[in-house]
């Protein structure tokens, strides 16, 4: 089985993760620009972060045969630093037009402050201008009202629902998100967001149309194999192959291919170029190159 993890912060992960992801069948990842844990206080550090999402990190992923995409945006937490936020907003268009960018995101609300609202709206306008889908981060606290408010604001800005992925859903939010025509993504994140047993039940109840599974693996306790593990659990619990395929691969591709920058051919012809890069100067420092990912192993 092959998988796409459409929300994972690889800059916070190790090469072991890349290797295990490739072994587990992950062929492509989307890395949304996010809050790095340590707040940035200078626009320069934001710029370098965005540069790494369109430069260094795709290179690192390619050494493991994984195609790397990203989304560009000002996250809701750092939107509250207005001085920084204004400077970041000026930078975003330059990055939004790069080849591996498949959406504006992850943007939306955290504490639902005025500043968050202002920059969320400004970035929705940017998404329209550069004709990209939007990945919406929904708040941890006051989740349900935050989700509804996010969709209301998207609609105020005349962005069609099919161009928007509402992320970090749960059982309480999924119905309305689907009813209003959006893509509904679920983050399988131990303890705080969703466990994958709950995910299996969501798919059982709602089916697979416009439902997307992701890991949001980052610097916290999280699991970069959340997508393949959830797929495996769905197999064990009798979910149909088609539903698994859609929620763990095809829907993410359909949603983000609307950017015009994501094609299946990108990973079906991917060339693991590690063997060109041994020596003291690549991610691999003198180790044996990892040859090609086994598509069958799913560690659980």
């Amino acid at each position: 089985m092959k998988f796409i993890d459409p929300h994972t912060h690889m800059s916070s992960r190790t090469t072991d993760d890349y290797e295990n992801m490739a072994k587990s069948g992950i062929v492509a990842v989307i890395e949304p620009a996010f809050w790095f844990g340590q707040p940035r206080t200078e626009v320069g550090s934001y710029k370098d972060y965005l540069s790494s999402l369109v430069g260094w990190e795709p290179f690192r992923a390619s050494q493991f045969g994984i195609k790397h995409y990203c989304t560009i945006g000002l996250n809701s937490k750092e939107a509250n630093n207005v001085k920084l936020a204004d400077q970041v907003m000026e930078l975003l268009p330059l990055y939004a037009v790069k080849e591996n960018v498949v959406a504006i995101g992850e943007i939306g609300y955290d504490d639902q402050t005025e500043a968050e609202d202002k920059y969320f709206r400004a970035q929705l306008e940017l998404a329209k201008e550069v004709e990209l889908p939007v990945m919406v981060h929904t708040p941890h606290r006051d989740k349900k009202r935050g989700v509804i408010r996010s969709m209301d604001v998207v609609e105020e800005h005349d962005i069609p629902a099919h161009m928007v992925v509402i992320d970090h859903n749960n059982e309480e939010t999924v119905q309305e998100v689907l009813n209003r025509g959006y893509w509904a993504a679920f983050t399988i994140y131990p303890k705080t967001k969703m466990g994958n047993e709950r995910m299996v039940e969501v798919v059982r109840q709602y089916g697979s149309e416009r439902i997307i599974v992701d890991s949001s693996a980052d610097w916290g306790v999280s699991d970069p194999l959340a997508v393949p593990k959830t797929a495996q659990l769905m197999v064990e619990r009798g979910i149909s192959q088609e539903d698994i395929y859609k929620t763990c691969y095809q829907n993410a591709l359909d949603a983000y291919a609307q950017s015009g920058n994501m094609y299946e051919s990108h990973w079906e012809s991917v060339d693991v170029n590690q063997s060109l890069l041994y020596g003291g100067n690549s991610v691999l420092r003198g180790q044996e190159p990892f040859k090609s990912p086994s598509m069958n192993v799913i560690e659980n």
Binding site: P58, F59, L91, E99, G260, N273, N281
Partner: protein
């Protein structure tokens, strides 16, 4: 029709682009250059430069057209930078470098050799050599006259050493033989000892780097290398000895010209690697 200005002696660019791209693509390029008539330092230009991949089909550039620019995206980005016949302001290039993705960065490093006052970008190229992204290294090292012409010795030496460490072909670095120096030779000499101590081999290409310092005091060291059983290495060492023009050394080892050039040595190594 669009015309590349005569910044590079290669008139083939215009012909190739006009024959290869569709009318629609050509008009997008024209429109982009019209939009930035007033100068490049504006968001419109940066967006157009970034979006080349969306509007221009990716096609290979044949070697007879350019050995520098490999595909239509690189060539069109180069055109956008220089269409007015003048080099972009340094401010514009610095911003493009700062915010570039890998393919844009590659194009920028390749373009520098054609711009006015390329020496302004020594700091950029010096930084570029520190990259770990192979394609970026290659854009600086190969088919690029900038390093040999403008880099100070330390940076040039790093470029060569990095090539050795990454098992990249150093014979393809333009102007290498003219830029050989004692510092580079001493570092290469220590490196060979380090590799030998660890029971590892060295690339036969490395012996070229030693030529500026070789003398009769290296007789034992070189004899050990010649007797290693690696035929290509023996030839490379003999060639280095002959190139050193140190008569005592040549007589000590009884070295003869091995009938091979540094380019042929490099080709043999790297053609075998590719197979």
């Amino acid at each position: 029709m669009i015309y590349f200005m005569d910044m590079c002696s290669n008139g083939n660019f215009s012909e190739f682009i006009n024959q290869t791209l569709s009318k629609q693509e050509i008009s997008w390029i024209k429109e982009s250059s019209e939009m930035t008539k007033e100068g490049l330092n504006n968001t419109k230009f940066y967006l157009r430069f970034g979006r080349v991949y969306r509007h221009i089909q990716l096609k290979a550039v044949p070697e007879h057209v350019s050995t520098v620019f490999k595909n239509t995206h690189e060539l069109v980005r180069f055109y956008l930078l220089t269409y007015a016949g003048t080099s972009p302001d340094q401010e514009v290039l610095e911003k493009l470098f700062d915010t570039g993705n890998t393919s844009e960065t590659i194009t920028l490093y390749k373009s520098l050799q054609y711009l006015e006052s390329p020496e302004k970008y020594v700091h950029r190229v010096t930084e570029g050599i520190r990259t770990n992204i192979l394609e970026v290294y290659d854009a600086i090292a190969y088919s690029n006259s900038f390093p040999a012409q403008y880099l100070p010795e330390l940076a040039f030496n790093q470029l060569v050493l990095k090539g050795i460490f990454n098992e990249r072909p150093i014979y393809l670095i333009e102007g290498l033989e003219k830029r050989l120096n004692d510092e580079l030779a001493l570092t290469a000499y220590d490196y060979i000892h380090e590799r030998w101590s660890a029971g590892r081999k060295v690339t036969s290409e490395i012996w070229l780097l030693l030529t500026p310092i070789l003398s009769e005091k290296h007789t034992d060291f070189l004899t050990k290398g010649i007797q290693s059983g690696d035929e290509l290495q023996s030839k490379a060492i003999q060639l280095a000895i002959v190139d050193s023009k140190n008569q005592n050394l040549i007589e000590n080892i009884n070295a003869n010209h091995p009938g091979i050039t540094w380019n042929e040595i490099g080709e043999q190594i790297h053609t075998n690697n590719r197979q």
